[in-house]
């Protein structure tokens, strides 16, 4: 039962990463692309956690935490650049 659920969840997360990649390519404006990249890193955190469950080890937890922190900081930096024309004033 756990194998079927794990493969289904991996397939759904991979499909959502592909959909966000589609939006990041065709996105008509810059905030669309930033939102697509934001959603993509959140989905990649889910993929890494699922891979850690699949190989039965939690050494990938730090990678997921680093991706979460750096993705948030990059999103905030690009949004500040769009808002003010400068990141650190």
């Amino acid at each position: 039962m756990l194998d079927v659920a794990l493969w289904t969840s991996l397939a759904l997360f991979a499909a959502s990463v592909l959909l966000t990649l589609f939006r990041a390519i065709i996105g008509p404006s810059l905030p669309d692309r930033i939102l697509a990249l934001d959603t993509m890193y959140i989905n990649s955190i889910g993929l890494i956690i699922l891979f850690g469950i699949w190989i039965n080890s939690n050494i990938y937890f730090e990678a997921a935490l680093l991706i979460a922190m750096l993705g948030f900081i990059s999103t905030v930096a690009v949004c500040k650049y769009l808002l003010r024309g400068d990141i650190i004033e």
Binding site: T8, S29, I42, N43
Partner: protein
Amino acid sequence: MIGFYTFMEGVIAFFLIAGGMFAFIGALGLTHLKDFYMRLHGPTKTSTLGVGCVLIASTCYFSLVQGGISVHELLITIFLFITAPVSAHLLAKSALHQKLPHDPRTQGHPKEFDEDEENPKPSERAGITPPP
């Protein structure tokens, strides 16, 4: 009477499927909705909820496999639940700053669309008194 491990396996499988479905519905909303302000709604709620469900499943799984309670996945959950509204707020502010077009059926009129100092339109501003 089912055993404890079978019950916990069912709980973990439920959270895995729920997380995958939430993430997929969020990505569908990001792809198919009409304008940016609608597209902002889908991922900011469903993606964090999907990753939250997957992290709850991971916590249950490693607590069950390694014995004891493994709570360090909750760090990512708390971090995502704090940072997702902040990034959504900044994205909405930057979209309003760029005056992205919205669906004409959208109700309400945010004041960021009125502040058009470069090329004011006096025909539209005629009967409107500016707020003090």
